[in-house]
């Protein structure tokens, strides 16, 4: 069984598992990192959205064998540590301020996708628009979408 080395939330991890097991299951079932959620397993619902080297990706669609030792995987559990200070990430604060979550199941993925959207929009030197928000594919079956939009706008001002 091959050994895989990569970084998760700032720590180097070594995992013995077959190459083709998707990273979502390595995180959840082997490493016990359960912030990223299963919602479809085919990169559609985006509930598992996390970051690789600072950019959004969906670990349900990445064989663990594709990871390199220097790859830094950030899950919702590690998001707050990507910013200065002891507090939460500004997007997490915005989420609490707008009381966004209902059941909360999709929220780790929503927040990770939101942080990435704001990064990309800022790189283009723009402010978040409705058209940008419309590109988010993360399902929220509770339907808290309007609060997600509000929170992303608030959070983007503090990022």
């Amino acid at each position: 069984m091959p050994t895989h080395t990569f970084r998760v939330n700032g720590e180097t991890v070594r995992v013995d598992v077959e190459n083709d097991v998707r990273l979502l299951w390595v995180l959840r079932d082997i490493l016990g990192v359960r912030g990223p959620k299963y919602g479809c397993g085919i990169n559609v619902c985006k509930a598992c959205t996390s970051h690789i080297n600072g950019k959004a990706f969906n670990p349900c669609a990445v064989p663990v064998g594709d990871l390199r030792p220097e790859d830094e995987v950030t899950t919702i559990e590690g998001l707050a540590d990507t910013v200065e200070g002891d507090g939460l990430h500004p997007m997490q604060d915005a989420w609490i301020e707008h009381d966004v979550a209902q059941c909360g199941y999709c929220q780790p993925g929503q927040i990770m996708a939101a942080v990435d959207l704001v990064r990309r929009v800022k790189e283009e030197g723009r402010a978040i628009s409705d058209a940008d928000l419309d590109t988010l594919r993360n399902i929220c079956r509770c339907g808290t979408y309007p609060r997600i939009r509000d929170a992303i706008r608030s959070g983007s001002e503090k990022m």
Partner: protein, 774 residues
């Protein structure tokens, strides 16, 4: 003729004095009956005319009433660290009842909100029908019992403090922020009193609840108590719970609905696959247990199974619709004057999926002679009964832990995934963490049945003389105990000999308008070929869409403005008030561009009233906008929603529930349905079943909470859907010029996806994840 709602709607009460118990325990413990007399309206048994049954005795009353004779006690305890603990015998699935319950306790007990710890009670069979989360009933049925417990605790703390302070009477003291305060300002924290306030012998006591004017937290805006856990990934759902050796397990489901396993042809080969530990046949398929869920998916795809078919054969949507048409009962309009006009409408509603995002799942550890189950179950007692029976154990050998769910929408009323988990664990002799694949949730999970709704109204001049609605539906499975609650009170109802489904229909369907002789009836098919269940708000969204479109049609027939026509015929003042609110705030009748339109809808249920105004953009540029693998179509651009639920506990939580209901409404009217084709549902993913996504979300949403001075809480969890769905349908009509008759409006359009194969039953896990990094 108007039914007097005042008896039901207002229920004004003065200061309440209620009974409970101080329970023998090491620290202060209090118990109350879950259903207090306060929940049962005394007027419930009188028969009004000419309203429908739901106008005087609705589903909520039925649940409250059923709870009364069987209610047992619920406990609240205060520990030496000053924290308050309460195990709520209800299930949190996102609707916010843990937060609202904590608010109610904190307010009555004068304790900081963060010191109140609300957990979910395990299954408690002694509560009989009083541990069911449904019908938007939680707050209505628990508000006074929980306040009573808190008030008794507060009284005991005052008494203990009086003794500690050398014999002061409790009336000389007051409570504030987790402490008893003496006349000289000394503060004794509750934690310091928790032992002294405890009793050796359980005693019955009376408690005075605070007058409504003294409530400071109830009725304010409070964020969810688990908000931080939700945004940091710390919140645990069933699949996140650590149970030793409970390895990932999935079920290879049949390629047909309700198919069964004849044999497995390659069990040995699958057992050799990486990570796989067990393969076992269970009644719903072939269960595989492995080190990771990814390896379960691979094993499910590799299994070669000889399947026996289910009962649905090669039926498609058209076949089910034909059976429903055959079951439709004729209209029976009373005699009306010759000059009266008849308005007929006829609507069809497609199958819909109630699947939440958190999949059907459960953890099960079945040993020799006993079992422990963890799952989000809204009727845990029925689950415990069914699991015990299936496992062959006495009921008390099965422990059911209720876990917070990631949504429910009707799905978690049933025990399907917990049953798979328990039987797999038993067959394998090992603990399992069992989850359905999304494809199974769509194709093998319960569906909200197809239905038709027909209305005939007769109109003379500006008056509606008769209104007759006939709803005909596929069978809705209420076999989760909800029906038992209804039948428990059935003998008390002013209605005749009806089935459980018909009772529920009658109890949720009121007469909203003064339309003369008014009837609304349900007929359901009886076959069990499909796995069915209710979806959020059961019949009401479809019934309301049909009713409110017909109201617009009547208004158009007699040349009246739909808003003015509604407000002239509405039976209830509170309902008229919320309608007026949305018409004013939403600027009803404002000039709209071509292909845009406004629509209205109203709905009363759960002791409350709601109205909605929707604006929609059906211009070609919007309808044809391109989003990859998605349904676009007309876009709701603005929603103004007003609701009067009586007493509001948490303004933020209530608005959240209305918001979610509005998103459901947009989905069921415009975008989301299941297609039955040749004996199977086509949809197998979130990109197939087009629930509302960000590109369908209105840009502007206003939710108005209307205060009518009612001191009693109503229901909220499902209440956002019907008025909003009706308003979306009417706005669509206004924008397109065509009254929609088939829902969702895109159901007959060409599919926006290529259906996944049925065998293997789940799609492969993709490998291209890193290619999409931007």
């Amino acid at each position: 003729m108007t039914v007097d709602y005042s008896a039901l709607g207002q229920r004004k009460v003065g200061r309440r004095r209620l009974l409970g118990y101080l329970v023998a325990a090491p620290t202060l413990a209090v118990a109350v009956r879950l259903a207090s007399d306060a929940n049962v309206p005394g007027h419930a048994l009188t028969i009004p005319t000419p309203g429908l049954p739901a106008d005087v005795f609705d589903l909520s009353d039925s649940q409250n009433y059923a709870a009364k004779p069987t209610a047992h006690l619920i406990w609240m305890e205060i520990r030496e660290d000053g924290t308050v603990h309460f195990a709520l015998p209800r299930t949190e699935v996102g609707q916010g009842i843990v937060t609202s319950t904590a608010m109610i306790i904190a307010d009555e007990l004068d304790v900081p909100l963060q010191d109140v710890h609300v957990t979910l009670a395990d299954s408690r069979p002694e509560l009989v029908m009083n541990q069911l989360t449904g019908g938007s009933n939680t707050t209505m049925s628990t508000y006074y019992p929980i306040r009573t417990a808190a008030a008794i605790a507060r009284g005991a703390l005052l008494e203990a403090a009086g003794l500690m302070l050398g014999g002061l009477t409790p009336t000389a003291l007051h409570t504030d922020n987790g402490a008893v305060v003496a006349p000289d300002g000394r503060r004794i924290p509750y934690g310091d009193l928790a032992k002294d306030a405890a009793v050796d012998q359980t005693t019955e006591v009376e408690a005075d609840l605070k007058p409504a004017t003294d409530l400071k937290l109830v009725g304010t805006t409070v964020g969810r108590t688990d908000a931080r856990a939700a945004v940091t990934g710390a919140k645990q759902f069933a699949m996140d719970i650590e149970v030793p050796n409970a390895l990932p397990t999935m079920v290879c489901k049949p390629p047909t609905i309700k198919g069964t396993v004849r044999s497995v042809r390659n069990q040995a080969a699958v057992l050799e696959m990486p990570g796989v530990t067990h393969v076992a046949i269970i009644p719903t398929g072939v269960a595989v247990r492995a080190r990771t869920f990814g390896q379960c998916i691979d094993a499910v795809r590799a299994l070669d199974v000889d399947w026996a078919p289910g009962e649905i054969g090669s039926d498609s949507d058209e076949d089910v619709l034909a059976r429903i048409r055959k079951a439709e009962i004729p209209m029976a309009v009373p005699e009306v004057p010759l000059l009266a006009k008849t308005v007929d409408t006829d609507f069809t509603f497609a199958f819909a999926s109630n699947a939440p995002l958190d999949p059907d799942c459960a953890v099960a550890d079945v040993r020799t002679g006993s079992a422990e189950i963890w799952a989000s179950l809204k009727v845990p007692i029925v689950a415990q009964q069914e699991l015990a029976e299936a496992l062959g154990f006495p009921m008390d050998k099965v422990t059911v832990h209720v876990v917070q769910g990631g949504g429910s929408f009707g799905r978690r009323l049933f025990t399907d995934a917990a049953m798979d988990a328990a039987l797999a664990s038993q067959a394998m002799g090992a603990p399992v963490r069992l989850m359905w694949h999304r494809a199974d949730a769509c194709r093998q999970g319960r569906v909200h049945p197809m239905s038709t709704s027909r209305v005939r109204a007769t109109v003379l001049g500006n008056d509606v003389l008769t209104y007759e609605q006939r709803h005909t539906s596929g069978r809705t499975d209420f076999g989760h105990g909800f029906g038992d609650i209804i039948t428990a009170s059935a003998a008390k109802l002013p209605v005749g000999d009806y089935s459980i489904s018909q009772f529920i229909y009658l109890l949720t369907t009121g007469a909203h308008y003064n339309f003369g002789a008014t009837t609304s009836l349900l007929d359901e098919l009886t076959d069990r070929k499909l796995n069915t269940g209710a979806m959020r708000n059961i019949y009401s969204p479809n019934v309301a869409v049909a009713r409110e479109l017909t109201v617009d049609k009547i208004a158009r027939t007699i040349g009246k403005d739909p808003y003015q026509f509604r407000r002239g015929h509405i039976r209830n003042d509170r309902l008229r008030t919320v309608l007026d609110r949305v018409a004013e705030a939403g600027r009803w009748g404002r000039s709209m561009p071509r292909h845009h339109g406004q629509g209205l809808g109203i709905h009363s249920e759960y002791h409350g009233h709601s109205a909605c105004l929707v604006e929609i953009d059906a211009s070609p540029a919007t309808v044809n906008r391109d989003v990859r693998k998605a349904v676009t179509g007309p876009r709701v651009t603005k929603v103004v929603f007003a609701v009067d639920v009586g007493l509001v506990i948490n303004r933020s939580g209530l608005k959240a529930q209305m918001m979610g209901g509005i998103m459901d409404a947009i989905a069921i009217v415009l975008t989301s349905s299941l297609h039955l084709k040749d004996g199977n549902f086509l949809e197998a993913s979130w990109d197939n079943y087009a629930y509302t996504r960000q590109w369908n979300v209105p840009f502007d949403i206003e939710i108005h909470l209307v205060d009518s001075g009612i001191e009693e809480p109503g229901g909220a969890g499902e209440f956002g859907v019907p008025a909003a769905a009706a308003a979306v349908a009417n706005a669509y009509w206004a924008a397109t010029g065509n009254m929609p008759t088939h829902f969702p409006v895109n159901h007959s359009a060409p599919l926006h996806y290529e259906p996944y194969p049925y065998n293997p039953p789940v799609p492969p896990s993709p490998t291209s994840g890193l290619d999409h990094v931007k």
